[in-house]
Amino acid sequence: MTYTFDFSFLAEYWPQLLKGLAQTAQLSLLSIIFGFLLGTLLAIGRTAQSKLLRRVCAIYVEAIRNTPLLVQMFMIYFGLASVGFKLSAEFCAVLAIVINVSSYTCEIMRAGIESVRKGQREASDCLGLTWLQSLFLVVLPPATERVYPALVSQFILIMLATSLVSQISAEELTSTAARIDSMTFRSFEIYTVVALIYIGLAFVFRLGFWALSRLVFPRLRRLGTPL
């Protein structure tokens, strides 16, 4: 092996990498927040009384979960542009990821909602709570708490999947890496650095979600045991 490693490009390009990191974090957070909201809505639809609504949500989830995110992105970015919607690459990226993550969140949240015992629902009915109140006050909080670990894993995966948006020319960490690569030809070094940054970011995200769980699930904070 006659190859000499050369990480000297870092001295010049680290501000760009830092900017890419910030863009990746922002993209991930946006996708996670909107993906969670849409996914929860879908999960409510998936467990609704109406058979039609259940069927529609099921078809959506199956269609999204069985096709690659990359193809979905191409379809949204190139497809929408071809029929006249000129949207920015960043917007299409968030849209594609939100659609993707919502279908996974839907399945996870559905499991959570189904794990809430029927008696709880009946009890809230007896107390005169409206459908919305019983959903938001009685069913969703324990449902979310129970599936929280699965949600976090899914969100970390989505954070990693934001690297795909470099393929539709949106700006983030991986596309920054590709640009630096094309200027310095230090492919292996730059992608090693980027891999390390992603590992660090995944760790930070995990830590952040852990802190969030202590914040939003008071029972967990007080007792320290899972539901």
Partner: protein, 214 residues
């Protein structure tokens, strides 16, 4: 609409997608089993190595792994075709996830099975490979099949290093026909046809194994 030639190109590409998935599943499964065994071994060093391996692989995007495999292996002196580099990345990727899935399966085998095997005077190696592993793998069959769906979908990332699989070919065709909706819909349907049976099978297996809790 698509010409016959384009359709043929897509179907050929689908074969490459399937081939890459198969390699990732078989080789990744073999490495993954090793990782799973290391992960539950009594040796602290082995456990630590497997844990670190899983953390690193699960914390890196597959796209970056593809790049690392493609550029990294070539500077090590191997002159690799993109397909080989993509297979390498896919095997590493799937082995970490299989390792975690199967570790869960192994740990889910009731403790009494370990004790019973010991009472029957089985050697620790026999106990592990004849009693624990078969049951552990059986428990983890549904998530394994479910993860195969992820493998098939993630082979689409091989397109970025120039493997002529389904996504790459569809991009090529789109570049000459400019009908993104049609071409990507066809490709999505092709992926769906490969993934949905697996997803369905996984669900069936889950129902079958869950008899006690129905």
């Amino acid at each position: 609409m698509l010409t016959t030639f384009q359709m043929q190109a897509l179907l050929t590409a689908a074969v490459w997608t399937a081939g890459l998935s198969l390699i990732a599943f078989v080789l990744g499964g073999a490495v993954g089993l090793l990782i799973a065994v290391m992960r539950v071994s009594a040796n602290r060093v082995l456990r630590g190595i497997a844990f670190t391996y899983i953390q690193i692989v699960q914390g890196t995007p597959l796209l970056v792994m593809m790049m690392l495999a493609f550029f990294g292996l070539s500077i090590l002196g191997f002159d690799l075709a993109p397909f080989t580099a993509a297979s390498f990345a896919m095997v590493i990727y799937s082995s970490a996830y299989f390792g975690e899935i199967w570790r869960g399966g192994i740990l889910a085998v009731p403790k009494t099975q370990w004790e019973a095997a010991e009472c029957l005077a089985l050697h620790p190696v026999q106990r592990f490979w004849l009693v624990i592993i078969p049951q552990g793998l059986r428990i983890s069959t549904p998530p394994t099949v479910g993860f195969m769906v992820q493998i098939v979908k993630n082979t689409s990332l091989a397109s970025v290093i120039g493997v002529a699989e389904l996504t790459y070919t569809s991009k090529l065709i789109n570049n000459s026909t400019f009908q993104p909706f049609i071409i990507f819909s066809v490709v999505a349907v092709l992926y769906f046809c490969m993934c949905y049976p697996l997803a369905w099978w996984s669900r069936k297996l889950e129902d079958k194994l869950n008899v006690a809790h129905r």
